[in-house]
């Protein structure tokens, strides 16, 4: 336990979420800032802290204490992404960095200590190197990860390095209050048991702690008694699979651009394949000569091949205009970046082919390029009370949305389903036996039996039989999306059956049973 093998160096960047947020939003350092997560303050800048804002405070309360406070939603993704370059500059100095959380990482101290000639020297070298990169880091070295973290947290701006001597970490941690364990279920129990410092807790028998508090208790006990070790995977630098093509001079013809992108897309798919990955979603950024940037995400029902990527670039440039359409101004650069990747093992086609017919796929992709994106689609059944809402068309090559069909939809009509569903209901006129207009009263009954039916401008036909009204109401709580209508089935004198709908005192044909 006292060997130098277990020594850990922790690098801590104080207020990292704040720094990351400031960099992202390009804010000045004077502006007090608080990051909000689930309605309470997650992190706040030092000047906000000086006015009494602290972690866990409700947003209202924080704004009351510090009126000039800028409140921003916390985004852990941004935090993690902004931390990447810091880790990269750290990895230039020492190998084997493990990220504990954004803003905090741990390294085995033994290697750097040997290389730089002592722990103190290693720590100060790292500190200076990071300071040159404009990163104010604090460092702690101790026998355990938790101990090193505590040591780093206790440093100040003037003395940014704290080293706990070999074998003394347990004594170093002993006076710290039990709340430093940061376990909201365990800490109150321990407090009630009369254990107020880490030393008290560490003095307990480890087996007894395990029997009483289980896995979580053992982990906390390890931390308190400075026996927790560095574990987890080392940070591996992320590979950027993105590719791009720059055109000099800028191009304005779609086929030229598509040809220029081919190499980039092939290299991207190749590099992904070498890492055992396939791309299932793609982001294409097109920068035109006038500085205009157009970004769009594309997803694929299976995974992108190089030709698929070129097709997507073509479709993006064409918009929905078809083969003759092109970009509005010459294109200078096209960037491709995989937005979602998956291991290729999940996408191997079976021995006899499980993927869809290649021939069909190619021909339809070509047709798509000729007619414009969105013209070729695959239909699927959706949910909804009105028939045209239940028809979902997904552009060929896009991902099918999850079906809402299995949900109960009150107000659906009994089978048979109509063979013609008007995407826009056709205006119609329905009259009673004496030519009087028909409406549905407050009790939900028709004011007269339907006797005459006229679609659009065509002459009226006699209604031979009918049924209704069947009420359809949806979203009565939403003023904008609210719809309330009554349906009728009618058969005209020629034997054609119609599904008629009366909405806002206006008649329309929703579907035809032909």
């Amino acid at each position: 336990m006292t060997s130098t093998n277990a020594r850990v160096l922790v690098v801590w960047l104080p207020d990292w979420p704040i720094i990351a947020a400031r960099r992202r939003l390009e804010l000045s350092a004077e502006q007090p800032l608080a990051l909000i997560h689930k309605g309470v303050v997650f992190a706040c800048s030092s000047d906000a802290r000086a006015s009494g804002v602290q972690r866990g405070l409700a947003v209202r309360e924080a704004q009351l204490r510090c009126p000039e406070l800028l409140v921003v939603a916390y985004d852990p993704q941004v935090d993690a992404r902004a931390f990447e370059p810091v880790v990269a500059s750290l990895e230039d100095l020492v190998p084997g960095v493990r990220i504990l959380r954004p803003g905090l990482c741990a390294i085995r101290a033994r290697g750097p200590a040997r290389f730089y000639g002592g722990e103190e020297r290693a720590a100060s070298t790292i500190h200076q190197a990071l300071a040159r990169a404009d990163i104010a880091a604090r460092l702690g070295i101790a026998d355990s990860v938790f101990g090193a973290e505590r040591a780093a947290l206790q440093t100040s701006g003037d003395s940014p390095i704290a080293i706990v001597a070999v074998g003394t970490t347990r004594q170093f941690l002993a006076p710290a209050p039990i709340s430093t364990l940061d376990d909201s279920t365990l800490v109150p129990v321990l407090r009630r048991l009369g254990l107020h410092s880490l030393g008290d807790f560490a003095a307990l028998d480890r087996v007894a702690v395990g029997a009483r508090f289980g896995e979580a208790g053992l982990r906390a006990h390890d931390r308190a008694s400075a026996t927790d070790r560095l574990s987890g995977a080392e940070h591996t630098p992320e590979i950027d699979f993105g590719a791009g093509a720059t055109f000099e001079p800028a191009l304005d013809r779609v086929d030229q651009i598509a040809f220029g992108v081919r190499t980039a897309s092939e290299s991207m798919i190749d590099r992904l394949a070498k890492s055992g990955l396939v791309c299932t979603a793609l982001r294409i950024t097109v920068t035109s000569e006038s500085g205009e940037r157009r970004e769009r995400s594309w997803s694929h029902p299976h995974h992108f091949s190089a030709a698929d990527v070129v097709d997507r670039v073509r479709w993006q440039l064409q918009g929905s205009g078809g083969v003759t359409a092109g970009p509005t101004s010459p294109v200078e650069r096209v960037e491709l970046s995989p937005a979602r990747v998956d291991t290729s093992a999940n996408h191997e086609s079976g021995l006899w082919g499980t993927s869809l017919d290649e021939r069909v796929h190619h021909a339809l992709a070509r047709l798509h390029s000729i007619l414009g994106h969105g013209s070729v689609s695959t239909p699927s059944l959706g949910g909804g009370r009105f028939l045209n809402e239940r028809q979902v068309l997904v552009a060929w090559g896009d991902e099918t949305p999850p079906a809402k069909r299995t949900l109960p939809w009150p107000g659906s009509i009994p089978p048979p389903a109509p063979a013609t569903v008007f995407s826009e209901p056709r205006p119609a006129d329905v009259r009673g036996p004496n030519g009087e207009p028909i409406d549905v009263d407050g009790r939900g009954t028709a004011t007269a039996p339907p006797a005459w039916l006229a679609l659009g401008r065509s002459p009226a036909m006699k209604v031979s039989s009918w049924a209704g009204p069947w009420p359809v109401t949806q979203r009565w709580w939403d003023a904008d999306a609210r719809r309330s209508a009554h349906r009728f089935q009618m058969i005209d004198s020629e034997g054609m059956a119609w599904l008629m709908i009366l909405e806002d005192h206006e008649w329309a044909a929703e579907a035809r049973y032909d």
């Binding site: 017919d357 021909a363 070729v376 048979p416 109509p418 039989s465």
Partner: protein, 212 residues
């Protein structure tokens, strides 16, 4: 063929040869056809011939029904320029929507679109274009024959293999203010090929649970 003597009139020779060609074509029907739902065999025989055009007037359901069995057996189908087609009815007949390709608006490229769809899809349901030249129709027919796909035209088509027309349609289940649409009875008029004589009439009952 020995009966076709040299001294008979050219018209009668042509007619005899034509008859022989069509009889030879029809012998290939069994192995060279898309399957049909059992209820439709009474109307169209044992299958839907490949590489031809069927024109259907008066019923969209009938077109869906004709495609259903082939789609169930794994054939890719297409719908061109029928934006109001009811998908629930299509699924109800048993058409596999995952293998259905939908082109709502081909714009002014109707001909090239139907051509490239017919290249890869076995069956294509299309709305009859407002005007089609006879030469274009025969070019398309030649292409269909080559790719062995079948086109079902909703409306009139100049050179169709079969014309199916709904003569009358009656419904059960709907009364005067009560009930709902249930079974449907169709009376069809079928004209096979260019053969003369009166068209064949047949009746078809479409149960409501068929299209649920």
């Amino acid at each position: 063929m020995s009966s076709v003597a040299a001294f008979e009139s050219p018209a009668s020779v042509r007619q005899a040869l034509q008859a022989r060609i069509s009889s030879m074509q029809s012998t290939r029907l069994d192995e060279d056809a898309f399957p049909l739902l059992p209820m439709l065999r009474a109307v169209l025989g044992r299958g839907l011939r490949r590489g031809t055009v069927y024109s259907i007037s008066g019923s969209t359901s009938l077109a869906l029904a004709l495609v259903a069995a082939a789609s169930q057996s794994g054939e890719w189908c297409g719908v061109l320029d029928v934006p109001d087609l009811g998908l629930e009815a299509a699924a109800g007949w048993g058409i596999d929507l995952d293998r259905l390709v939908w082109v709502a608006d081909p714009g002014d490229r109707w001909m090239s679109t139907v051509g490239s769809m017919a290249d890869v899809l076995g069956l294509v349901i299309v709305r009859a274009p407002a005007r089609i030249a006879s030469a274009e129709a025969s070019r398309l027919l030649a292409r269909l024959r080559q790719t062995r796909s079948t086109m079902l035209v909703l409306g009139e088509w100049p050179q169709s293999e079969s014309q199916i027309r709904v003569v009358s349609s009656t419904w059960t289940g709907l009364g005067d203010g009560y009930g709902h649409l249930a079974d449907r009875h169709l009376e069809l008029e079928v004209r096979q090929g260019q053969s003369p004589g009166p068209p064949r009439r047949s009746r078809l009952r479409v149960p409501s649970e068929m299209i649920s």
